[in-house]
């Protein structure tokens, strides 16, 4: 075995260096960095968030109509305290709105019902008074009204801070209350969604690279030149590992890019909408609830899933000997990945038995088992059995792929069907 793997390191280093040097890959990498950096501001802008300006507001004048017993006082507001405000007594929307000049806004504070206040903002629809500005103005008005209302009731800042502490409200059934680990659909969906998307993305990125890189020697007719120095097993292992590393590197760069984008964008954009969206999806809560064991379980599962689909891509790659077959091979592996994902998603709703079965079926289990473990549908024992099975599948798949590669490395012709692959593995050289 040692002799068969001799040269794996050289193949790995050469392959990864060429992946990083390839023009198309460099362009792709640059695009990925750019997209990562632009992702958060793009989402913020598409979500309606506006630009935060440190210099102050674009509003040049405020007109206030207040029919309540709470004066609207902006004196403690950094943003709006310096804006000249005119208080009107007459009726709001039509009158004042018709008088608004450039960069001017009107605020109406009324109490049409006995139980509540109404704040209405009308701003001139010109550049500088965007949605975000209006929202900020509304927030400032609400804060100002709250403060004066509470002060009128004798509430000091300390009490105010306590009163303003948020609530988390949970409404659940008796069954879910007694068995909190079960039926936590939101958490299950969030974790499964995030994990499955990550595995799918990594696999889909990897597939075409592996298929292409496995075929390239045969397509370039230099297999014989290579085989005098390195054995097929080392060639295959080095190449698959190189692509896997490259894709992990891409994802690392993408993650760092998004993190940088989030931090930098936070200085200029109002990201509360995106944060809210993430919160609504339950991702924030689900992720923050993960303990070290769960994170470790996720990491092991990701590695196994990634290995499974990478080796599977290798197998489809070795069944082809020309670049014309790359598309076909890509499609087949993507279909298997998608089938595994869909089954794991749909299977989650079919109860314990189906969950347990799916946690053990190769290609489905890579998606199903870790998500079900995290949501408490299966225990660690079953997850461990699933891992063992997944590990065995990876080893068997690689052994089969290596035998086929060894047997067919000098073959060139139309792509080989399953029966041909089995025969090649049996022949082994």
């Amino acid at each position: 075995m040692k002799e068969k793997l001799m040269g794996t390191g050289q193949v790995y280093r050469f392959s990864i260096r060429q992946l990083l040097k390839g023009k198309a890959n460099l362009v792709f990498l640059a695009l990925l960095v750019l997209l990562s950096l632009l992702s958060v501001p793009a989402m913020a802008l598409l979500g309606g968030a506006g630009i935060l300006t440190e210099e102050g507001t674009a509003i040049s004048a405020l007109y206030i109509y207040n029919t309540t017993d709470c004066p609207l006082d902006f004196s403690e507001d950094e943003r709006y305290s310096a804006i000249p405000a005119t208080v009107y007594e007459e009726a709001m929307p039509d009158d004042i709105a018709s008088r608004l000049g450039e960069n001017e806004a009107a605020i109406g504070v009324t109490k049409p019902l006995l139980s509540g206040y109404q704040i209405e903002i009308v701003a001139s629809s010109i550049e500088g008074l965007e949605m975000a500005e209006q929202e900020q103005l509304a927030n400032a008005a609400r804060t100002a009204v709250d403060r004066t209302r509470l002060e009128a009731m004798g509430v000091n800042e300390k009490v105010l801070a306590q009163l303003q502490t948020g609530y988390e409200v949970n409404v659940e059934s008796r069954e879910s209350y007694l068995h909190p680990e079960k039926n936590d659909f939101e958490a299950r969906f969030s974790v499964q969604y995030l994990y499955a998307i990550l595995v799918m993305m990594m696999s889909c990125f990897t597939i075409s690279y592996i298929v292409r890189i496995v075929i390239e020697e045969r397509a370039s007719r230099l297999v014989e030149t290579l085989l005098v120095s390195v054995r097929p097993l080392a060639l295959l292992a080095g190449k698959i590992l190189a692509v896997m590393t490259y894709i992990v590197l891409l994802f690392g760069i993408m993650t760092v890019g998004i993190a940088v984008s989030w931090n930098v964008s936070g200085q200029f954009f109002d990201l509360s909408a995106i944060s809210g969206l993430i919160g609504q999806m339950g991702l924030g809560t689900a992720l923050s609830n993960l303990d070290a064991g769960a994170v470790l379980a996720l990491l092991v599962s990701i590695v196994l899933a990634y290995l499974t689909f990478s080796v599977l891509s290798g197998l489809f790659g070795v069944s082809c000997s020309s670049m014309d077959d790359v598309e076909w091979a890509n499609t087949q592996v993507i279909l298997i990945v998608m089938a595994g994902y869909m089954l794991s998603m749909f299977g989650a709703g079919f109860g314990d038995i189906v969950n347990r079965v799916f946690a053990l079926i190769p290609f489905v289990s890579v998606f199903a088992a870790p998500a079900q473990y995290l949501t408490g549908d299966i225990g660690f024992g079953l997850l461990a059995v699933s891992w063992l099975l997944q590990g065995a599948v990876v080893v068997l798949l690689f052994w089969f792929t290596a035998r086929v590669y060894n047997s067919m490395i000098l073959y060139r012709g139309s792509r080989v069907k399953l029966s041909g692959l089995l025969a090649a593995a049996k022949r082994h050289g």
Binding site: M6, Q10, K21, L222, V223, L226, G429
Partner: protein
């Protein structure tokens, strides 16, 4: 050191493509593996190098199974290729690394062979002369060398002509300074200038005391270098042995004769077989030295002016054809 190949056999289903091939190289030199297309030469080489599983037999180098761990082999395959989109230098350093040659040492060897095989301009584009047009590839594309001051881009394999690619492939085979060099059709597709260049490199390797196995259809070239040979025909070895001894066994039966007068009548009278004739230039097949001398005596006696009279053993080409012809 010695190379012993014994009973190499390969079957695909019911078809035997190499049938119990055996030969040995006890001393350095060139061993020729000859045969018609599909006779099993390349399959035999692939089996010897462990690229293809053997159904029977073995190849031993110094008593051990021949493989990259036991023997420093250089191989110029018949099916030649390079990574089309990677730079030549990267590829050469990679192939050297696969043979355990450190990058710095590899660079030294690459420089030596680049100069020797006259491909420096593709490997060291910055050192090349500026503004030269170069036919750069099979597709006939022309590119222009960049002028001084600008850093030239390293060449990719698909920017080279077939002949220059072949030089790079020979470099790959020679970089590890192999003790056993296997050349499968080394001269196919080369122009006369590059053929001479390749032949001089082969001669150098022979002079260094290397073991060479050469497979080729160019009989004249093989004859120039090889000492021993095997002729394969339809998976079987039909002739094996030392080239000189094989030739001797045929005797001197080829007579090349050039005269200033017509001598057809004398030839016919002695019953000598005419293989070809162009004006007064004859290629004859005699039964032996006695018949050749008899003809010579007749010509002298009849005052025929003889320009060339050369009695030779059969050429390798003739021996080959006589063994593989139906």
């Amino acid at each position: 050191m010695s190379l012993i190949v014994s009973n190499l056999t390969k079957k695909y289903g019911e078809k035997t493509v190499v049938d119990h091939l055996s030969f040995a190289m006890e001393k350095p030199g060139v061993y020729a593996l000859l045969g018609t297309n599909g006779a099993g030469k390349t399959t035999s080489i692939r089996m010897m190098l462990g690229m293809l599983a053997k159904d029977e037999g073995e190849a031993l180098w110094d008593g051990k199974a021949l493989n990259p761990a036991t023997c420093n082999v250089g191989y110029l395959a018949e099916e030649r290729g390079l990574y089309p989109k990677y730079t030549l230098m990267d590829q050469l350093i990679y192939f050297a690394a696969l043979r355990g040659i450190p990058a710095a040492e590899a660079r030294k060897r690459i420089l030596y062979w680049a100069e020797r095989l006259e491909v420096e301009e593709y490997l060291y584009p910055d050192a090349a002369k500026p503004a030269e047009d170069e036919d750069d590839g099979e597709n006939g594309k022309k590119t222009k060398q960049r002028g001084r001051g600008k850093k030239a881009k390293p060449k990719l394999a698909d920017q080279l002509s077939k002949g220059n690619q072949q030089k790079i492939q020979l470099m790959i085979a020679l970089l590890p300074d192999p003790e056993l060099l296997i050349l499968d059709e080394p001269l196919s597709g080369l122009d006369p200038v590059n053929t001479d260049l390749f032949k001089s490199v082969i001669q150098e390797e022979i002079d260094k005391g290397k073991y060479l196995i050469m497979s080729s259809h160019q009989m004249a070239t093989v004859e120039e270098f090889c000492t021993d040979l095997t002729i394969l025909h339809r998976s079987h070895a039909v002739l094996q042995g030392n080239l000189n001894e094989i030739k001797k066994s045929y005797g001197r039966v080829n007579l090349y004769l050039k005269t200033e007068q017509e001598i057809d009548g004398y030839i016919k009278a002695l019953g000598i077989q005419v293989k070809s004739k162009k004006e007064q230039e004859y290629r004859l097949r005699v039964t032996g030295e006695a018949q050749a001398n008899e003809l010579l005596g007749t010509l002298i006696a009849n005052h025929v002016t003889i320009v060339v009279f050369e009695l030779r053993e059969p050429s390798l080409h003739e021996i080959f054809v006589s063994h593989v012809e139906e």
